[in-house]
Symmetry: C2
Subunit: 384 residues, 2 copies
């Protein structure tokens, strides 16, 4: 009779859980003696993430305390409340903690002027940051997939974005610039197709919640998913993976160039003694807009034209965006047309010239320098 | 009675010709006392380019000698020959010179192993280079439009390309690395939609030639034009312009990073005294592959691991590609998987390790260096 070593015997893992574990290690997420939060909407992606975490915990591959976080956005009335109840029941049935919160996204959208998608995203990330604080976790997991990454790239592409927008989401970043020690991780982002999350939930015998908004073709993202991506797959069956690879390459480009732009700015500012400091986020990616983690300290003081002119176009353009952001506080309504107008100040003859920015600020070229002139705008007046 | 100053009186220009003239000046193409070649297939784009050049010459906005160049690819039998005759008649009717040549693209494709599109492109650019030499012109004009640029980006995207592929075509570059003084210019690339070239030909009363291959949906580019782009325009009516803008942004990124990669390589090579020099093209863009104009002198000698590790990922990856190209002579069949394998040699512990390349060459990590080992492969043997 063969003796079984109980200490090393482990139940066989599903392929889905094995791939999650492999990515978990690559991302250096905590594997033992830690507490994590998993954001679960009740859809296939986040339910699969929860079930696979649960599988790894029960197989003792991960030794973690797990809290399920669910925000009821209140956008679909009784259906929203039913989703919340379903998530709570699933999580408790698996033996995990649950935090449910109810938001009023409609109202906050009206108050801020964001569209519903933006307001929902903002509410969700604020909720997750709050849960992370209260539970004192080291990582919050969200279930974006390879498909989400490809869709994000395509939406940015159709807006004419540069590498910073096309780079999409990162597999791991700080949840909040004030809490760099807490990770926001997307352990499905680099490998899981939506078909795989559906299949895994099905294999686990869990019938996930359908979100009618995910089928509503008035949302551009839904049409990308249901029309554009399938058409692209007729050109290349692996188009989604190809798009996600492109996003990763462009993100690396963007990060390298952003770093150089920050260096260029500090040289063009003419030295630390005259810096007017402002902390600004280096990323402008919409998907990352709620919490900015790559912060840089950028000066808003005058820039030397000769230094900017000597830099590569791609670096100079980014440096100017960072500088405008430092001066204005944000880049809202600043388009590539505005940045080009500022760039044009750099070429040609000397002499005093001015480029205008939305909201009343201006950039002036005078005596070999670019000078930012902010304008105190009464609340709301600049937005009319 | 008003006196008319005949010297400054000019006939009114069409909007199409005015925009061409504006781009002509931006590209600093010759406006007087020069000879140019215009490549004309007989389709709407190149016919519009010819007609607009002709309009500008007759309006004396350009004082140029113009030679029309047409390559009969011989791919459509009698229809090809009829196109050639049509182009010759149009050009002579307008009073310009014509050079017509007949190629055997089917046969050269079989000989080189290229597909028909590649072989046709190669034959065309070789023909244009030959005409440029014989006519001693300063610029050869081709009629790629904004639509072509968008299609090029989308095709590259669906292959999972990085910025170098997505950057598409340049509005002007050297025709041939051996002739940096002769421009290949695309004066329609940055502004003209295909609908505008069709409308301009129509307004000039010219019925252009239809190329059946441009309607053949077995070609990916045709399906991009007829299916993918129209779908994207339902998301953003100005999607084509947005894609072209993205291409331009990514090209600038790519150029900045390529330059840094070349600098990184020269540092990682450890100084000029040990350089084994090789002239390689810095671009790998398929659309630009026939003649490479951005040449850099890159060493294929061992690289210092510590120098490479300290560089940004995006710069290091490009440096390794340049280095592999210098070592192998080209990057045929070298995929991102191979480059990643070489990159992995940089991480982790010391010790001798090897990454394999297609065709038998290898890269070895030994004593803090990456070493390229070429392999003499018998002709064709490496391709089996």
């Amino acid at each position: 009779m063969r003796r079984v070593n109980l200490a090393t015997q482990r139940s066989p893992l599903s392929a889905f859980a094995r791939r999650l574990l492999s990515e978990w290690r690559r991302l250096e997420l905590p594997t033992g003696d830690a507490h994590i939060v998993v954001a679960v909407s009740g859809g296939a992606d986040s339910t699969a993430l929860l079930l696979a975490c649960d599988e790894l915990i029960k197989a003792q591959r991960l030794v973690l305390m797990l809290t399920v976080a669910h925000l009821d956005h209140g956008l679909r009335g009784a259906a929203s409340a039913a989703d919340a109840a379903w998530v709570a029941q699933l999580a408790r049935g698996l033996g995990h903690n649950v935090v449910i919160e109810h938001a009023r996204v409609h109202e906050s959208a009206q108050a801020t002027g964001d569209n519903l998608e933006q307001a929902a995203r903002r509410a969700r990330y604020e909720f997750l940051a709050r849960v992370a604080r209260e539970t004192q976790v080291r990582a919050v997991l969200v279930a974006h997939t390879l498909d989400d990454q490809a869709e994000t790239l395509l939406l940015a592409l159709m807006r004419g974005s540069g590498a910073e927008g096309l780079g999409g989401m990162r597999a791991a970043r700080a949840l909040d610039e004030r809490r760099p020690d807490v990770l926001l991780a997307r352990p499905l982002l680099r490998w899981a197709r939506r078909t795989e999350t559906v299949a895994y939930c099905c294999a686990r015998g869990i019938e996930v919640r359908a979100d009618a908004l995910n089928e509503d073709e008035r949302f551009a993202r839904v049409r990308v998913r249901r029309q554009l991506v399938p058409l692209m797959e007729t050109f290349n069956p692996r188009a989604v993976a190809a798009l996600a690879r492109t996003a990763e390459l462009l993100r690396a480009d963007s990060e390298a160039l952003d770093e150089q732009a920050a260096q260029l700015l500090s040289v063009a500012c003419g030295g630390p003694e005259q810096l007017m400091m402002a902390t600004v986020g280096a990323t402008t990616n919409e998907a990352e807009s709620v919490t900015m983690d790559e912060t840089a300290t950028i000066c808003a003081s005058p820039l030397r034209v000769d230094v900017l002119r000597a830099a590569a176009l791609a670096v100079r353009r980014r440096a100017l965006r960072l500088w405008l952001k430092a001066g204005r506080g944000d880049l809202r309504r600043v388009t590539s047309t505005h940045v080009r107008a500022v760039e044009r100040l750099l070429v040609g003859e000397r002499g005093r010239r001015v480029a205008e920015l939305p909201g009343g600020a201006t950039v002036e070229r005078r005596r070999g320098q670019l000078i930012f002139h902010g304008k105190m705008v009464e609340k709301g007046a600049g937005d009319v």
